[in-house]
């Protein structure tokens, strides 16, 4: 990409920097708010679908009158709504908001990014409608049918155009860590999504393709963009830089190399070549390197500043998310080992792990990002701080209950399944109380989302008292 003609500076004068931030936020306001509004709605829809799917384990004859509400479809609609609706749209919103600030250039063609948000919603409405109606490609994470995928390909292209052109017009010499992750994610998603949708595979080869995609949708897309947000927000709120540039570099490149090779650990024990599984297990274990690098970097930056957590909801959510990232990743590395996987594969244990990652890590960071970004876009403060506390504790308590119940229940399920003397009926029955506890955890998360959505609605309608000063430590004045 050609270098811009204007002079580069990484450290403009404070007043210049402040006015540039205002200009950057003005340029991103419309598309980012549209991405954010949509993400909140998909979060509500997605969690409702998840809760319905979860309750069906306890009430298997509930909502069985039509194919539309059968477990296999509701569960799949849930996954697509939360992964491609909530997480992806919120993450894109955060990325579109961060990039102009980080490269000191207003968003290029905001209208194009806005059109991308409209198209992305169209994709979700058609795609999730198709899944519920029974029209599916049948591959996990790739259920939405090919013709509808074209809609998201175009929308993603528009979004990438707007972001990449903004980067091309940058006025910074240096790219901050968050920019690396955003740029790489914008390259990775189109490559994996288009490749995985090529209709040239079948049988076992298609299974390999399926999980190369599925795990990279998590690793190279959701994780990358979530880390980009955390790398922006933690130093911003604390007012101190990230501890180590070198660790950031190690974290980034090791993630790029190892995460992309993880996928086949979803097929451990399956009818695929053993060397292939071994490659993915090795790469899964090597994920300890980027995870440790990122963890050390975040936690040493936080050192001595944990008191700030009480004053900043953004930081509370992001730090919780970053800690859960470390935990979920280390768990994932352990889970890929053959001895552990022998027990956990095919059980609810895996479902607990997946939710720890996408909810405990990515969603918590996204909630934190909303609390930071939305005041700067609507020029208002969150009117009811108590609701933020409710949101935080319901979400954290919900995922904790969800994770603990499925981890214990899933492990027992796995151990019993390995014991051929246990009839299969016993294996099913033993999980039932844990699945009830999971539904309670899910209901708490749903309640957290209702609180959050209500508060968000108050916020964008600018309800409540006119803010005299920022309600929270990192409010507008802190930039």
């Amino acid at each position: 990409m050609t270098a811009p003609s204007r002079p580069y500076t990484d450290s403009p004068a404070p007043d210049v920097a402040a006015s540039e931030r205002v200009a950057a936020d003005r340029s991103t306001r419309r598309p980012v708010l549209l991405f954010f509004h949509s993400a909140v709605i998909w979060l509500l829809i997605g969690s409702l679908l998840g809760l319905v799917a979860s309750l069906k384990f306890t009430f298997p004859d509930w909502l069985t009158g039509q194919a539309l509400w059968t477990f296999g479809r509701v569960r799949t609609a849930h996954l697509n709504a939360v992964a491609y609706g909530w997480a992806s749209m919120a993450l894109i919103g955060v990325a579109v908001w961060m990039i102009p600030r980080l490269v000191r250039a207003p968003l290029h063609r905001p209208l194009v990014a806005t059109a991308a948000a409209v198209g992305w919603n169209l994709f979700l409405v058609l795609g999730i409608g198709a899944v519920l109606a029974g029209w599916t490609d049948g591959l996990e994470w790739l259920e939405i049918p090919y013709p509808i995928d074209a809609v998201v390909a175009v929308s993603g292209g528009l979004m990438a155009f707007s972001v990449l052109m903004t980067v091309a017009r940058r006025r910074t010499r240096h790219f901050y860590v968050s920019v690396w992750y955003v740029l790489a994610a914008m390259v990775w998603l189109p490559i994996i999504f288009v490749t995985a949708n090529l209709p040239v595979f079948g049988g076992v080869g298609q299974a390999a393709l399926n999980w190369w995609y599925g795990h990279n949708a998590l690793g190279l897309w959701i994780t990358s963009l979530s880390l980009a947000a955390a790398y922006y927000l933690v130093p911003k709120v604390l007012g101190r830089p990230i501890r180590s540039y070198s660790l950031s570099l190690v974290g980034f490149w090791a993630l790029a190399f190892f995460y992309s090779l993880n996928g086949i650990h979803h097929l451990i024990g399956g009818p695929v070549p053993t060397w292939l599984i071994t490659v993915s297990i090795t790469a899964s274990v090597m994920m300890v390197i980027p995870v440790a690098a990122t963890a050390v970097n975040f936690h040493t930056t936080m050192l001595g500043r944990f008191g700030t957590l009480r004053h900043s909801p953004t930081l509370a959510f992001v730090v919780a998310g970053a800690m859960i990232y470390t935990a979920a990743s280390l768990q994932g590395s352990a889970e890929a080992l053959r001895t552990v996987n022998r027990v956990t594969h095919f059980t609810h244990f895996t479902v607990g792990h997946a939710h720890l990652g996408v909810y405990g890590f990515a969603s918590m960071i996204l909630f934190g990002a909303y609390y930071f970004i939305v005041p700067r876009l609507v020029n208002w403060e969150w009117p009811r701080p108590a609701l933020i506390r409710w949101h935080f504790w319901l979400a954290l308590g919900g995922i904790a209950l969800y994770f603990v119940s499925l981890t214990i229940g899933g492990w027992i399920e796995g151990v019993w399944m390995l014991d051929a003397a246990r009839p299969f009926g016993d294996v099913v029955s033993v999980t039932k109380p844990y699945l009830v506890a999971r539904s309670v955890g899910g209901a708490m998360m749903m309640a957290a989302h209702c609180v959050f959505a209500y508060h968000y609605w108050l916020m964008v309608r600018r309800r409540g008292p006119e803010p005299q000063e920022p309600a929270w430590a990192e409010g507008r004045a802190a930039g």
């Binding site: 990409m1 069906k56 384990f57 298997p60 069985t64 009158g65 039509q66 194919a67 477990f71 296999g72 569960r75 799949t76 029974g134 029209w135 599916t136 490609d137 049948g138 591959l139 996990e140 010499r173 240096h174 790219f175 690396w180 740029l183 390259v187 490559i191 490749t195 595979f201 079948g202 049988g203 076992v204 080869g205 298609q206 299974a207 390999a208 190369w212 990279n216 790029a256 190399f257 992309s260 090779l261 996928g263 086949i264 024990g269 399956g270 009818p271 695929v272 070549p273 022998r342 594969h345 095919f346 059980t347 479902v351 399944m417 051929a420 009926g425 016993d426 099913v428 029955s429 699945l435």
Partner: protein
């Protein structure tokens, strides 16, 4: 880092490398996998049943892969011999699955050859397996006053349908059961037809 190109090329290189290793190489290695002599392609009805299986999302709770005895109790449970890539040559989309909320179905046609069992199980899983958490699929059936010509009547235990009514399998149920009964992978996989291993 201050070079766009470094990030861009680095990102392309890592993901391409992963694709070549995880998808490209196995594709190459498995290129000469041929259909075993005893494995026949799905009939039209079985294929339609398979499409129904996919559309209802059965594969989110049932795997179709039997692990080796060293790696689990699959064979000891009577789920069949360890699966091989050859067993899947006709499978699009693949349905290997990642959950066993219900049992593996690679050989369900061997374990349960009875059509009546399958119909009853789909209509009300708890009528045959009281512990089951599987959804019931009443929309694959019709409860009628009287059977007509060509209807497939399902023998039900007392109380499952109102007295004086009959339970009839819709074509969707018949195709699905055709598919499930065709899930028989108990042949010798080494006795290959064309291609071999």
């Amino acid at each position: 880092m201050n070079r766009y190109l470094v990030i861009f090329l680095g990102a392309v290189a890592t993901v391409t490398f992963a694709f070549l290793v995880l998808v490209g190489l196995p594709q190459e290695q498995l290129a000469d996998v041929g259909a075993p002599a005893a494995l026949r392609p799905y009939s039209a009805s079985e294929q339609a049943g398979r499409a129904r299986y996919v559309s209802l999302g059965c594969h989110y709770c049932h795997s179709q892969q039997v692990r080796t005895p060293a790696f689990g109790s699959d064979s000891a449970r009577g789920w069949g011999r360890a699966s091989e890539p050859d067993d899947y040559v006709y499978d699009r989309p693949h349905l290997l699955g990642t959950m066993r909320t219900g049992p593996d179905l690679m050989n369900i046609g061997v374990r349960q050859p009875s059509r009546d069992w399958h119909y009853l199980h789909l209509f009300q899983p708890r009528a045959v397996a009281p512990y089951s958490v599987m959804p019931s699929f009443p929309f694959l059936f019709r409860v009628k006053d009287q059977a007509e010509m060509g209807d497939v009547i399902v023998n039900t235990p007392p109380g499952l349908v109102p007295a004086g009514k009959v339970l009839v399998a819709r074509p969707e149920a018949r195709e699905l059961v055709d598919y499930l009964r065709a899930m028989q992978h108990d042949y010798d996989v080494r006795a290959a037809a064309g291609g071999g291993r």
